[in-house]
Symmetry: C2
Subunit: 149 residues, 2 copies
């Protein structure tokens, strides 16, 4: 199977990975979540090649995660913004930050996510809404559909 075929299998992990699972993609999304919308600004921050960034942004636009919009005429310039579908990747970004904080950081974490207003650090919780309890991986069982990949 080719990596590009992941979009077509009946697995939500695979279909998500078909959108974000190329080198650099989550870093490009990090920049967009940070409010950096212009090609050159993102490229400068990440220090990656022009053709790679062009390709990643094109994929994100094709999947409806990002829109490319003009912000200036003569010369015409475009910027990139997250759509609601793109904004909805925020929990995935937070999960990455949290894992990196726990397992790869030497001292203080490079970024703290605070609840705007109250100032407390936010949390990403796996929980049961019925029992109102936080869960670990062992508390969860995966029930596959008959046609799941």
């Amino acid at each position: 199977m080719r990596h590009d075929d992941l979009a077509d299998v009946n697995c939500s992990v695979a279909r998500t990975w078909a959108v974000v699972g190329e080198r650099w993609t989550m870093l490009v999304l990090r920049e967009l979540f940070r409010g950096r919308r212009r090609f050159e600004v993102i490229q400068d921050q990440l220090g990656l090649g022009r053709s790679v960034l062009t390709d990643r942004l094109r994929t994100l636009v094709e999947h409806g995660v990002v829109v490319r919009e003009p912000y200036q005429d003569s010369p015409r310039r475009h910027e990139y913004r997250l759509t609601p579908k793109g904004e909805d990747l925020y929990p995935l970004l937070v999960a990455m930050i949290r894992w990196g904080d726990r397992w790869s950081t030497d001292g203080d974490p490079p970024v703290v996510l605070e609840h705007r207003g109250c100032g407390h650090e936010v949390d990403l919780r796996l929980a049961c809404p019925a029992c109102d309890r936080d869960l670990g991986r062992r508390d969860v069982t995966a029930v596959f559909a008959p046609d799941a990949w």
Copy 2:
């Protein structure tokens, strides 16, 4: 910058991506979370090349996410298991499943994650522990350390 250098910058997204951000890696982890531990079984399911799977597993072992252990002598055979560091990637996998469910699934989701025991579907929530409230992305502000990348 090279993709491999992401492990060394002061950003938890980048450091996480240095571990999981290659083509196929999250799919390999999906298989391991599903309890598939043997090279051939994982390769058969994903339909990817032997050298690619070898490379991805080697990276995961190097980062302490997976251990490679013998399960048989003569001939010697190995299997792969998630370490606690690897198990802790579960929220990231769940975030991917949820996003795929919401944005890429036509009908019923291919897998439902249930609270073992009570049977209700589990949830991944961004929340403020102080206010005991679920939060959206706009409720969160990112405070960067002075030396953050």
